[in-house]
Symmetry: C2
DNA sequence: ATCCTCCCCTGACATTTGTCATGCCGACCG
DNA sequence: CGGTCGGCATGACAAATGTCAGGGGAGGAT
């Protein structure tokens, strides 16, 4: 484990996760790999962004759920500001919609936290080399969930219905008649094959369609 | 860091978390402490129970959300089978109700994953010494959220309503008239000060009242 | 013992939500 | 050009949900 014999420049990493315990542990484990170097850590979305600007890492390893701005949002900003920085998203419970949003934001890797640290190190190298990596199981979920069958208005109305607001309020906010709102809701419910609008909201959220 | 000079018997730990990445990292970090020894790991509730029976650890460090049986359920079983084994629950997003259930199950410690590894090691020692430790912020949340204002039946009906089932079905499963079911739902809604039953379900879940 | 309060339960009524038949408009195709 | 299809929009009707007034019983307080 010497330096002179290894002229390779290490991969510089940014680690962002709001759970100190995990972030610290992860940093310790990744530090064991000779070719990886953690140059910055962050506990929130905005902090991750600031750290990235300051340290210009090669790869940013971001947790999906963080206070301030989630991993995907950070990735979007990073894409614009630091095009050379690859983004790898790590997540606890991977919902199909997140993966889709993430890929659209230019994220290069997407893995659940169930992988081992060694595997993660490999994936970091893969991503750094310019390749993509998404967890096969999450990918399968995303593909099977497919594209949204909802029309623009249906999605809009469903979103307004998300917090349990009554139809009158939705109608007002969407500048529609109550009947029309019910119609879109009903249509969404039948397209999604669920019992009522609340289940529809849940499903659409899971699939990332709202 | 030698052995002969330190005759203390290390604290034997069981680590249970379904996220391999985190569990592995945690094990590595805790291994750095001379007086802590990870003797078993598990990725699910039942597995944690089996491991505990086999290795009889001094302290079980359990994640709250695991497949099979959650941390609190495991703690309950452990309490009966291995009274000498202290339980410490570690959780990502600490909802007030969980803490209450955990303490009732005889858990000795309850901390969020935002603590540092060093702090966790200290807390493990605290718990092993027979003392209790709960994260101050979580404790404050739990106290401020208070006890459930719902009666037994109200909670029961609300739980049956949780997956969006229609009233008729709830009435059937609870062996009540539809009117009664509506009544309990309505009562719960007004007690919780929310708009409709779905919001009530969400709130009650958050507070741990169902 | 009697009152009072709280919980459990019910049916009738008003409101909200879900479903249906229908019309309008723009896009695409023959 | 005329026809057809899918998205947008509406109101009338049926079904589910929420609200109300009230009756019966258990347990604690006076």
């Amino acid at each position: 484990m010497t330096a002179a014999a290894e002229p390779v420049r290490p991969v510089r990493l940014l680690l962002a996760d709001d759970e100190h315990l995990i972030r610290g542990a992860l940093a310790a484990l990744l530090a064991l790999e000779d070719d990886l170097l953690v140059v910055a850590e962050a506990a929130s979305g905005p902090e991750a962004l600031a750290m990235a600007r300051a340290h210009e890492p090669d790869v940013a390893v971001l947790d999906l759920q963080m206070p301030g701005a989630d991993g995907v949002r950070v990735a979007t900003s990073l894409r614009a500001e630091l095009p050379g920085c690859r983004v790898l998203i790590v997540t606890g419970h991977g919902r199909p919609g997140h993966l889709k949003r993430a890929l659209e934001a230019g994220v290069r890797g997407f893995v659940p936290k169930t992988v081992s640290a060694q595997r993660l190190a490999e994936i970091i190298r893969t991503v750094h080399a310019g390749n993509r990596y998404v967890d096969p199981e999450l990918a399968a979920d995303a593909i099977s969930s497919g594209d949204s069958p909802l029309t623009a208005r249906e999605a809009e109305v469903l979103e307004l219905a998300a917090d349990g607001a009554p139809v009158v309020e939705i109608a007002e906010r969407a500048a529609l008649s109550q009947g029309t709102v019910r119609n879109y809701l009903s249509s969404a419910v039948s397209k999604l094959g669920v019992e009522n609008r609340h289940a529809a909201v849940r499903l659409a959220r899971e699939r990332g369609w709202v």
